[in-house]
């Protein structure tokens, strides 16, 4: 059967960055084709070209045998290409109905509400989903929002569906359900481009896999030709992967004791709902859960970005919930934030300056009211060597660094004062395997020195590998704690969907 889509030597540059160098691959009708690659390999850029958001600098796209140029998303939609973006394209303030309606084709300016609602409800029922058409989207879980995105595509009758890391926000059980839908679509002769870096899922669902690396398509392998080790090998290539070994030395001292803590969000709803948790000295405590179940609020209240509505936090036995002790405690905590670029660094400042954001007031870095540039430079040189940061030319803004190197700058800064507690929010999200291993190594080394880490992650494999204990969060509460050596992914998955486990 001829290919539905053929991509040949696509190249796309942004000012100062080559996002795609030369990418070629093809998708057959009725195929689930996986694009595998680390973040920064160009998967999302490539998909944005396919959906008409970006225009390629070079190369050509053949769709159903004809060469096409998508000048705008409209053109790509007209060909039956639809995509679920990693950052959902939904309007949080609009209702479910309005969000789906927006995507429907051929709805006249004045439309019959009743008939359209029936049509949408039919699809919702078909997939046995529990969605209220009139509910605003911001009230829904991230998982439900993903279903809305999918329904948008299904109702448009797309021939080629693109899903960009759809399982990042789903529990393992929900992912299974998604895969069942994808398999059904494949049987109907539709094609799917599936983007993921979770090896397990790729193995399960793909007919073919194309590996992308640094903007180039390395190779395409058909089912039977690939296995987990081979794909991982291709993705890593000749990158150096740091080696580390975990020594578990969890002490008996409780470093952080959180009791019945509640935090409200901007909309007045409870992000944390009487959440209780204990962190011991030298422990790496993992927090698992589907995104949006209070993990972020937990990190924010612990690092001083949010206030507690009720409940208590004790640090080494001292109540630090409200008192002035809180500020000195917060100053001593290390924090790897979720969004590196917007709150982890000052993007336009140099690496040197970013490394002293926490300690610029120290006598070593200032002379009277002026900065001591020489000392700041010396400090930067030390840190760059110690943490193997690829920093580029001196004084260049930190935002030009790759994600992995930005993360190293943050880690170097946060760990510089030998903190007792590290709160890490999705610290390896979007990092290549080498950089991710480096982050793990830092946490393991820290634990050996007695540092306690709260690691919030959506990657169960990561949590199972590195943590001493895993707490699972659901709707702002801890529903249970498990020992990673005595649990299964399935058990954690069930807890992530709210099932209490004794």
């Amino acid at each position: 059967m001829p290919d539905l889509l053929q991509i040949e030597h696509i190249r796309k540059t942004f000012p100062g960055v080559v996002a795609l160098d030369s990418v070629s691959f093809s998708v057959a009708p009725g195929e689930i084709h996986t694009l595998l690659g680390e973040n920064g390999a160009g998967k999302s850029t490539l998909m944005n070209i396919l959906t008409g958001l970006y225009r390629p600098d070079r190369g050509r796209i053949l769709y159903a045998g004809r060469e096409v140029r998508f000048a705008r998303p409209r053109a790509s939609l007209a060909c039956g290409i639809g995509m679920v973006h990693q950052h959902f394209m939904l309007v949080p303030a609009h209702s479910v109905f309005e969000n789906i309606l927006l995507a429907l084709d051929g709805v006249p300016g004045f439309f019959s509400r009743r008939r359209l609602r029936d049509r949408i409800q039919q699809v919702i029922d078909e997939f046995d989903l529990d969605l209220d058409l009139d509910s605003p989207v911001w009230k829904l879980s991230i998982g439900a929002q993903q279903w809305i995105e999918l329904i948008k595509l299904l109702m448009r009758d797309c021939r080629l569906l693109i899903l960009d890391e759809p399982t990042a926000v789903l529990t393992p059980q929900e992912s299974e359900r998604l895969f069942a839908v994808l398999t059904r679509l494949r049987e109907q002769g539709k094609s799917v481009i599936f983007i993921s870096h979770k090896m397990r899922e790729v193995m399960e669902i793909s007919d073919r896999v194309t590996v992308l690396k640094k903007g180039r398509s390395l190779t395409t392998l058909a089912r039977g030709d690939f296995d987990q080790a081979r794909l991982a090998g291709l993705m890593i290539g000749d990158d150096q992967v740091p080696q580390w070994r975990k020594q578990s030395r969890v002490g008996d001292d409780v470093v952080l004791d959180i009791r019945d803590l509640s935090v409200r969000n901007d909309r007045g709803l409870a992000d944390l709902d009487s959440c209780s948790l204990e962190l011991k000295k030298g422990e790496i405590l993992g927090i698992a859960g589907v995104a949006g179940n209070g993990q972020k609020a937990l990190a924010e209240v612990l690092t001083g970005l949010k206030k507690a509505a009720s409940g208590r936090i004790f640090a080494a036995g001292e109540d630090i919930t409200h008192s002035s002790a809180r500020s000195s405690y917060i100053a001593g905590i290390a924090h790897i934030p979720e969004d590196r670029k917007s709150i982890g660094i000052a993007p336009d400042l140099s690496v040197d300056d970013n490394l002293i954001l926490k300690s610029f007031k120290q006598p070593g870095f200032r002379r009277w009211i002026f900065q001591d540039r020489a000392a700041i430079r010396r400090n930067a040189r030390e840190k760059i060597a110690q943490f193997a940061i690829k920093a580029g030319p001196d004084g260049a803004p930190v935002r030009y660094l790759s994600g992995g190197n930005i993360q190293k700058v943050i880690i170097a800064r946060e760990l510089s004062e030998d903190p007792a507690v590290l709160v890490a929010l999705y610290p390896t999200r979007g990092l290549d395997i080498g950089s991710a291993e480096y982050v793990h190594k830092v946490m393991a080394d820290g634990a050996a020195r007695g540092m306690s880490t709260l690691l919030i992650s959506e990657d169960l494999d990561e949590l199972l590998k590195i943590c001493d204990r895993i707490a699972v969060m659901f709707r702002g509460r801890v529903v249970g704690c498990v020992d990673p050596r005595q649990t299964t992914r399935e058990a954690i998955g069930l807890m992530m969907s709210g099932e209490e486990v004794a």
Binding site: R55, A78, V91, A93, H94, P108, G268
Partner: protein, 306 residues
């Protein structure tokens, strides 16, 4: 007494209502328009001079709409196509409007026209209290009633309205659904500006049928504030505009009756009202009650990498 006050309220509130509706359409599409004050003056002068020149009120009205729409299209071009700074462009538009109307209006000072006259709606105009205020008014006021309803229906009952609102909330989402975001934004700003121009025309062709330099006297700024108070909804805009009309009517009445309070203090009242309304509505917005379009003030660039 109350029916006279109510009548004065509606008449004083109508120019602000037009201006608020125009600003609201623009902001719903995600573009802040601080040029309202200038657009009102452009509408007022264009309407008055065309009506004076051609001797036809409808031609005047059309001229007011078209002139303000054309001036608004400059703002739209800068903000939508060129992705310029909306605050700077809007302020420039206001200054442009004040300047150009002062220049070309010199010849119009002192002239008069026969403004819009009252048309009583049979039956309804006899209603006690509200009859005179709402059903014995001029054609422009009836047009403003109609606009409030039409805008609401457009936003919430048509596909185009949904597209426009989405362009203001999340232009990327609209774009990926095939909505031509730039076209919607451009048209929203332009047509909205035209409606603001009608507010100006009401001033120079109905409220006081003459041209006076800078006759909008800050009403455009009140409209900018009212959009926030109205939570971007047209029926609430009506409420807000009449609230200000009411304060204006009341202070005029008090001046006419000769109170002890200084006229300067009384004339301040509508503006103090604006400040209070802004404080209250901002507090409410922070509590999450409002629905400010999420991408308000942000240019949309498809290829922008975030």
């Amino acid at each position: 007494m109350i029916d006279i006050l109510l009548d004065a309220t509606v008449r004083a509130g109508t120019p602000i209502l037009f201006a608020t509706l125009g600003a609201l359409i623009s902001e719903r599409a995600g573009i802040i328009n601080l040029g309202i004050e200038g657009l009102m003056l452009i509408g007022a002068l264009a309407g008055f001079s065309a009506a004076h020149g051609c001797g036809s009120l409808s031609v005047g009205l059309l001229a007011a709409f078209v002139a303000a729409m054309a001036a608004g299209a400059i703002h739209a071009l800068i903000c939508v196509q060129l992705r310029g700074n909306q605050i700077v462009s809007g302020l420039a538009l206001t200054m442009f409007g004040i300047g150009i109307t002062a220049l070309f209006g010199r010849g119009m000072v002192g002239l008069t026209i026969d403004g819009f006259s009252r048309i009583a709606i049979p039956g309804l105009s006899r209603l006690p209290l509200v009859g005179k205020a709402f059903f014995d008014q001029d054609a422009l006021i009836y047009l403003s009633f109609l606009l409030v309803a039409v805008i609401w229906l457009f936003f919430y009952r048509t596909r185009w309205g949904l597209n426009l609102r989405t362009a203001g909330e999340n232009p990327a989402a609209a774009d990926t659904c095939g909505v031509p975001v730039e076209r919607y934004r451009f048209l929203a700003v332009s047509v909205g500006s035209g409606i603001v121009g009608l507010g100006g025309a009401y001033l120079s062709m109905a409220y006081t049928p003459m041209w006076i330099e800078n006759m909008s006297a800050g009403r455009g700024w009140i409209a900018v504030a009212l959009v926030i108070f109205a939570c971007w909804s047209s029926p609430r805009a009506m409420l807000g505009a009449y609230l200000f009309g009411g304060i204006t009517a009341l202070q005029l009445r008090m001046q006419a009756m000769g109170t002890e309070i200084s006229a300067h203090i009384l004339q301040m009242l509508p503006y103090i009202g604006t400040i209070l309304v802004l404080v209250v509505s901002t507090l409410r917005l922070q509590k999450g009650a409002g629905q400010q379009p999420e991408s308000l003030g942000l240019p949309y660039d498809r290829e922008d990498r975030k």
